[in-house]
Symmetry: C2
Amino acid sequence: MDATFTPVGVVRTPYTRAEDTPVQAALNRGQDAVVEIAPEYAAGLDGLAGFSHVWLVTWLHRPHDGAEPATRPAPLRLVPFLLRGTGRELGVFATRAPRRPNAIGLSLVRIRSVEGAQVHVVGVDLLDGTPVLDLKPFFPDADTPDPPLSGGWFDEVELRDGIRPSDVGPP
Amino acid sequence: MDATFTPVGVVRTPYTRAEDTPVQAALNRGQDAVVEIAPEYAAGLDGLAGFSHVWLVTWLHRPHDGAEPATRPAPLRLVPFLLRGTGRELGVFATRAPRRPNAIGLSLVRIRSVEGAQVHVVGVDLLDGTPVLDLKPFFPDADTPDPPLSGGWFDEVELRDGIRPSDVGPP
């Protein structure tokens, strides 16, 4: 049985190509963006301004950067952007790659303000126009793992703020 | 334009009623569960065992506890379980309530082991049979917010491990 969701809003960012889009929201902490909620859902934002951070659950509707329609199934194994230099393949569920069996994105962003149906946020990794399926407030007790922590292969790569696929090299 | 997703697996837990299900995965750190991935997606799990934690992105397909079909739109304002004693209403996007415009769940769980197409995890807040839409490895640099942090109304409630709606009182 399939699940069908109707976007509740859209993200406005300066990014129009996946290759130029930072790979994770928290690695691009300086970039302002706006989440525009459809007017009929604006009442759902009441109370969100009290939180410092919110999860954006998005539909990564352009997994191919618009170059081709997403008709072929997503590969189950791939080389993540951050491992392009090594050629190392991983299962898609061990990566945060945008091309996934279900193209759902998860981005943690800081809330700057909530104004009417607009949520002004900082730190985005999303293409302009990305549909938003849900907003969930960051819940420190639920969203912070207990140690010991292991970040898998992420622990082995060097990250810097604002890193983009095009910084790492060709696919 | 709607987004349609096909579940890639299912969560097996001991919970069959929403009222008895812990309200957040991280508040129920002792409960074992199994994520059963459909065999055709099992190759996507390669590398996941190197992570301590994984996000389960789920379809909360029984927002009414099975008592009625989820045909009516979700309310945009509601009293969260944890605020039942106060009657305080909030916008749904300022809560983690399972009944949402798009019934997508987000649960952070510890990985115990990955065996074939099964991910054995600890800490669940999900009904038995909940469809899994995606698994995303916990990425410490991306999923940990920079201070200052504010947990909004969550900062005002007392939480204890394993707390369930039925502990708090009637809706």
